[in-house]
């Protein structure tokens, strides 16, 4: 078991190198870069060359990559070409903001999806199922940013219950009530965005479990429908979900780009979008790197969880 985990960990390293290199190439292949956007035709060639040198743009590709990778491993993600601030510092502020919005939304969506999915799956074809499945279907087809606009209109403009922009009102940092007021709408939008696919999945897993032999056997031994659902089927349905939680790791950082930008929520999203618009390649690269690394780590976690949690898989252990 430990050997398997170790092996998986080692496999991660070349994947990481490959992904980061590809990402580096991608951004580097830009037809023009920020240096071009801060030099003017009036500048002399020496000035331009000096600027290029300062940004390290005259070195061969692999050297640049190596230099950059070295910095990254030391926690230095470079500086934003536009704002000159340390990217790592900016992200250190923004990532928690994103997490504090996305994590609760995902958890709530998951819980709702499990409860409603089990309900729908166990009452297949009945009204409850049609309603839940129908809502999930509509949810999947709904563009989340459009739903955000609707929510803003109804709760922000018409009812005026919640403020529309940002994470807190000026001067009210740290005020929990103020935070909550700002939090509710984007939170709601995210829950609605995450819920439908999860619910569909739970529903179909439930239906498939209920057609298994062991459910018939349970009924044969007098188990009530509720008992079967709560003590047996839910367990079997939750297993793949839990292992897939690892795959949701990147969502914690890049899962709400559009929502954050609509609500002006100071997370990773708007930071990334601004950088893409101004071709601020260190920032773009840093965020891309971060999310690709999270995907790889998330996969790793999912694989390990799977091996740990499913009793049918015991690699290397004797029975």
């Amino acid at each position: 078991m430990a050997v398997y985990i170790l092996r998986r960990l080692l496999q991660v390293v070349p994947m990481l190198l490959l992904v980061t290199f590809v990402v580096f190439l991608l951004v580097h292949a830009a037809p023009y870069d920020v240096v071009d956007s801060i030099t003017t035709p009036q500048m002399s060639d020496e000035t331009v060359a000096a600027i290029r040198e300062r940004y390290g743009l005259d070195q061969p590709l692999l050297v640049q990559y190596g230099l950059w990778l070295g910095h990254v491993l030391q926690g230095d993600l470079g500086y934003s070409l536009a704002s000159r601030h340390s990217i790592a510092e900016e992200l250190a502020v923004r990532i928690p903001n994103t997490i504090v919005l996305v994590a609760p939304a995902y958890v709530v969506a998951l819980v709702l999806a499990v409860v409603l999915g089990l309900l729908a799956g166990s009452r297949r074809g009945k009204l409850v199922d049609k309603v839940i499945d129908g809502l999930a279907g509509i949810g999947i087809a709904t563009p989340s940013f459009w739903f955000a606009l609707l929510v803003i209109y109804v709760f922000g403009y018409v009812l005026r219950w919640f403020p529309i922009i940002g994470m807190h009102a000026v001067g009210k940092q740290g005020d929990p009530l103020d935070f909550l007021a700002h939090f509710v709408m984007p939170f709601l939008v995210l829950v609605v965005a995450f819920f439908p696919e999860l619910a569909r999945y739970v529903r179909s897993a439930t239906i498939s479990q209920l057609s298994q032999d062991y459910v018939l056997v349970q009924r044969g031994f007098g188990a009530s429908g509720g008992h079967i659902l709560s003590r047996h089927v839910s367990r079997n349905v939750m297993l793949p979900i839990i292992t897939q939680l690892g795959l949701a790791l990147p969502i914690l950082v890049t899962g709400a780009i559009v929502t954050e930008s609509i609500f002006g929520w100071p997370g990773v999203g708007p930071y990334f979008l601004t950088a893409t618009r101004s071709l601020d390649y260190p920032v773009i690269l840093a965020v891309l790197l971060l999310s690709a690394v999270l995907v790889i780590i998330g996969n790793l976690i999912a694989d390990i969880l799977y091996v740990l949690v499913d009793p049918r898989i015991r690699i290397g252990a004797g029975s």
Partner: protein
């Protein structure tokens, strides 16, 4: 349809007093929704009696309705099924109107032990669940009962097996565990749906011997569904022959095998390959399958 023997009471060699009949079913008819709409009749006016303490085999080809018959008794029919009967007597008492609210004192052993258990739940948990439900005891006592049940089905080292997951046991062990689970429901009637079909030949013999032993030890009445006449010959006292949803012949195994009355029964007997020597009860190994 020419030579159909009127389905009726099993003609046993001796007259049966009503008190000797555990279960009597009259006029059972079951409809199922068909694949492409419409209804399919799987059981047609089935009537039979199960004498107390006997092992009764129900034999027939696939599609004869034998499994559905068993399932009707425990109300395990598929969604949309329609079940009607004229009369059901339990120990002479008419309980027709009490069904399906009331459960027959029966437990079922299912065909495929691998898929009959929840793969994510340990054997012990499966068993204690049943013990707690049927015997109204607490967790600790239920575990003790589970251990006893495993020992009763001749599983060595029951404590270890209690902690195992289903996939960690062999087929034969799993089936024994399933029988143990059935015992924990304190049934008077043990229903077995093709209990040995999914097992290897040598294990089959062991399981059948086990059933016979348990039946004697606990004065159980057993209903076995099978398509294998060899099983009937090996363990059954009486037999019901089914075809196309009807019982075409009923009687003691000796009589039916020696003097089959219905042409279908004769066909069945003729088609059976020559049976190897039956295993003697004493020869069955004591839970020795790995």
């Amino acid at each position: 349809m020419a030579d159909a023997v009127t389905p009726g009471p099993i003609d046993a060699p001796t007259d049966l007093a009503p008190g000797d009949v555990l279960l009597s079913v009259d006029g059972l008819t079951v409809d199922l929704p068909g694949r492409t709409g419409g209804r399919v009749r799987v059981l047609e006016d089935v009537s039979f009696q199960v004498p107390r303490g006997r092992v009764v085999g129900i034999v027939g080809e696939s599609g004869s309705g034998k499994t559905m018959l068993l399932r009707s008794l425990l109300d395990l029919l598929p969604e949309g099924a329609d079940r009607t009967w004229n009369r059901v007597l339990l120990d002479g008492a008419d309980i027709t109107s009490e069904l399906p609210r009331r459960r027959l004192p029966a437990a079922m052993v299912f065909q495929d032990p691998m898929t009959s258990f929840n793969p994510l739940v340990r054997i012990g948990a499966h068993l204690t669940e049943v013990a707690q439900r049927f015997q109204r005891v607490g967790r600790r006592q239920a575990t003790a009962l589970a251990r006893e049940a495993l020992a009763a089905v001749r599983i060595p080292d029951p404590d270890r097996v209690l902690t195992r997951y289903p996939h960690e046991l062999s087929g034969g062990m799993r089936q024994r565990a399933m029988i143990a689970m059935a015992l924990l429901a304190r049934p008077e009637l043990l229903l077995a749906d093709e209990p040995t079909t999914a097992l290897d030949a040598t294990i089959q013999a062991q399981i059948l011997a086990l059933l016979r032993t348990l039946q004697a030890e606990r004065a159980l009445t057993v209903l076995i569904v099978t398509h294998d006449l060899g099983v009937v010959a090996a363990v059954c006292d009486d037999v019901l022959v089914m075809k196309d949803g009807r019982i075409v012949e009923a009687g003691s195994v000796d009589r039916v095998f020696a003097e089959p009355r219905h042409p279908y029964t004769r066909t069945l007997l003729a088609a059976a390959p020559a049976a190897p020597d039956e295993p003697e009860p004493g020869e069955a190994a004591e839970g020795g399958d790995a």
